[in-house]
């Protein structure tokens, strides 16, 4: 079963084997409002943990999306740029942003599980 983790910057990450799928949380899209633009990274890009690698823009604000883990981008959800509204409809499902091949799985330990993230959102 996939491991599901969350970052303080409101990204979700689902890991199967050494492949991590990353997107923004339902809470994040709710805070952003209607998403009107998404930019995903290029395949092959090496990313460091906490590096800004994608962009999500709503009517209200433009935000960076960070990679919670170090690795190489192996696939991106190219369709998002044409249908940015998908982020509002299915943030933690079809609207994933990019997939990374993990180079340091130990980084996952520093991230929150769902219960931890829910508590984090409630407190903030």
């Amino acid at each position: 079963m996939a491991i599901e983790k969350f970052s303080k910057d409101h990204e979700w990450i689902r890991v199967e084997g050494d492949i991590a799928t990353i997107g923004i949380t339902v809470h994040a899209q709710d805070q952003l409002g209607d998403v009107v633009f998404v930019e995903v990274p290029e395949v092959g890009r090496k990313v460091a943990a906490d590096e800004a690698v994608a962009v999500v823009e709503s009517v209200k604000a433009a935000s960076d999306v960070y990679s919670p883990v170090t690795g190489e981008v192996i696939e991106t959800n190219g369709g998002l740029s044409a249908t940015p509204g998908l982020v509002n409809e299915d943030a933690e499902g079809k609207a994933w942003f990019f997939k990374v091949r993990l180079s340091n799985p130990a980084e996952l330990d520093a991230l929150m599980d769902r219960a931890g993230y829910d508590a984090f959102v409630k407190d903030s």
Partner: protein, 526 residues
């Protein structure tokens, strides 16, 4: 006694509140103005030009074959179109303009009179310098006062806006680092900064590192010390900041920055709060832009071009861009050429010519007509106005940094958040839109980003007490309505009385239509 024999009614008739639909779409004398392309006709023209014999083309077959479809209008049609559009504009000349961090102050008509003097209005930037000595002297005077007011030894006049000034200051900082062979790639920016600060740093290839503010809305020297390192080129700080608060640890922050070998860029957008009170040079600032169009009353917000001169510290002065003014005996020269710069090492130039002459004239007029005491009083009055608004609204609207009783003084602008709107169903956006129906331009909303549902109000010193009281009365009325919740339509449907209702910003962003096309194409090809 003369009787009213014409049968002219002397009392208004009974009115009905139902909105009537007019044949024209006009609302009384408020015209529903179409686009100019929808009025014009390619077959019509406002001028009678003689027929030209067909000239021989030298474009090698690249000539445009079809009509280009420019609208033809008569002169009265053209006049009416633009006059009608201008009547839909909201300007500081038509009402209070409370946009925070924008300093929408009155542009005195004396400024306009001076800018139109023939010796100033009719000169050309390509004239020989010997024929425009007066204009260069005027620039030199303005430069002198800007240096005097900021306590800085140099100024670059040419930047044409605040963000352009940021670029100028940061280019000087980059040049200074390069001259020392120092490779630094990080710029520190507090999270309450103007959005243009991180944008400028990123545009120049720097990595932006954000510094969180303290719970009281200001930046601590401690946080800067924690973030600084040998890779940091500069910090970009706004003071007073966009929460309307004076950064009290600024001197200590400057010390931390300088000890690390970095430079201190101060965003001068809010200089109007401190003119004649504080000199940024005394605080340890290395570069700061001054928005002449804010602090020194030259028009902006659709009313005219900006001007963002940058004052520089002694460390950065050698890198100031071309052109700059040099005294040559009793003559003044604009140095336009790096080869003639002498010891100076200009990083380049930012503008084709020397900047916005018209704005220099207006700003200098403002300075001379106000005097030192007048400029100081303008700052005091701007701060007083903001605090008057704050004190009169604090019982109804919540302040994020107002302290436990909401009595913490602000500088030139007062910041509210949307905590007081919680559970009312009314958002900051709804509240701002409702202000339009009351005849006010909304305040800055959802900025600064660090505050939820921010409403940032900067009344400036231009408003009389009567004007402020009416504004406060309006906000109090709306705030009470929002709290009572009896009539949500007033907020949710607003604006109801503007020429256009609320725009669908999402659709505008997702499906932008950037070009008008006729319903039935009149034009064969482009």
């Amino acid at each position: 006694m003369a009787m009213n024999t014409q049968g002219r009614p002397t009392a208004p008739g009974t009115t009905s509140s139902t909105e009537i639909q007019t044949y024209t779409g006009n609302r009384g004398l408020d015209h529903e103005e179409p686009l100019i392309f929808e009025i014009g006709d390619t077959g019509r023209t406002g001028v009678d030009l003689p027929d030209q014999p067909k000239a021989q083309s030298r474009l090698g077959g690249l000539e445009r074959g079809a009509e280009i479809g420019l609208p033809g209008l008569t002169e009265p049609e053209t006049m009416r179109h633009y006059v009608r559009l201008s009547r839909k504009n909201y300007a500081i000349d038509s009402g209070l303009y409370p946009l925070g961090s924008c300093t929408m102050k009155h542009n005195p008509r004396l400024n306009e009179k001076m800018a139109r003097l023939p010796g100033i209005g009719d000169i050309h930037p390509l004239q020989p310098q010997s024929t425009v000595q007066g204009a260069i002297q005027l620039m030199e005077r303005l430069a002198h006062y800007l240096m005097e007011l900021t306590g800085m030894p140099a100024v670059a006049l040419s930047p044409k806006a605040g963000a352009h000034g940021e670029l100028c200051g940061m280019l000087a900082i980059k040049a200074a680092h390069e001259a020392k062979g120092s490779k630094r790639d990080v710029v520190l920016v507090p999270d309450s900064a103007h959005g243009t600060n991180p944008a400028t740093a990123a545009f120049m290839g720097y990595r932006v590192k954000s510094i969180p503010a303290m719970a009281d809305g200001t930046v601590s020297a401690e946080a800067v010390r924690a973030a600084i390192g040998p890779d940091v080129a500069a910090i970009m700080l706004t003071n007073p900041n966009t929460c309307g608060l004076f950064e009290r640890e600024i001197v200590e922050i400057a010390k931390v920055v300088h000890e690390a070998g970095a430079y201190f860029y101060c965003d001068g957008a809010n200089f109007n709060a401190i003119v004649g009170k504080v000199r940024p040079g005394d605080l340890g600032v290395d570069a700061m832009h001054i928005n002449l169009h804010k602090t020194f009353s030259t028009p902006h917000g659709g009313g005219g071009p900006g001007a963002g001169p940058v004052v520089l510290s002694a460390a950065l002065a050698p890198y100031a861009p071309l052109p700059f003014i040099r005294k040559d005996g009793d003559k003044l020269a604009l140095v336009e050429d790096a080869g003639a710069a002498g010891d100076a090492k200009p990083f380049g130039r930012l503008t084709a010519f020397h900047g916005q002459m018209g704005m220099y004239v207006r700003a200098l007029t403002y300075m001379l007509s106000h005097g030192t005491d007048g400029m100081r009083q303008a700052s005091e009055d701007a701060v007083l106005s903001a605090n008057y608004v704050r004190a009169n609204l604090k019982d109804l609207m919540s302040q994020p940094f107002g302290g436990p009783t909401g009595d913490r003084p602000c500088m030139h602008e007062v910041l509210f958040d949307d905590a007081w709107l919680k559970d009312t169903g009314v958002t900051t956006l709804d509240f701002a839109k409702a202000m339009i129906d009351e005849g006010y331009h909304p305040m800055t909303m959802y900025f600064p980003l660090v505050v939820h549902g921010a409403m940032l109000i900067e009344p400036t010193e231009s408003e009389s007490k009567q004007s402020l009281d009416q504004f406060i009365g309006t906000l109090r009325f709306l705030a009470n309505e929002a709290r009572l919740g009896n009539d949500k339509t007033r907020f949710k449907e607003a604006p109801m009385l503007a020429p256009r209702r609320r725009l669908d910003e999402t659709r505008a962003a997702r499906e932008p239509r950037l070009r008008w096309r006729p319903a039935t194409p009149k034009v064969a090809a482009e």
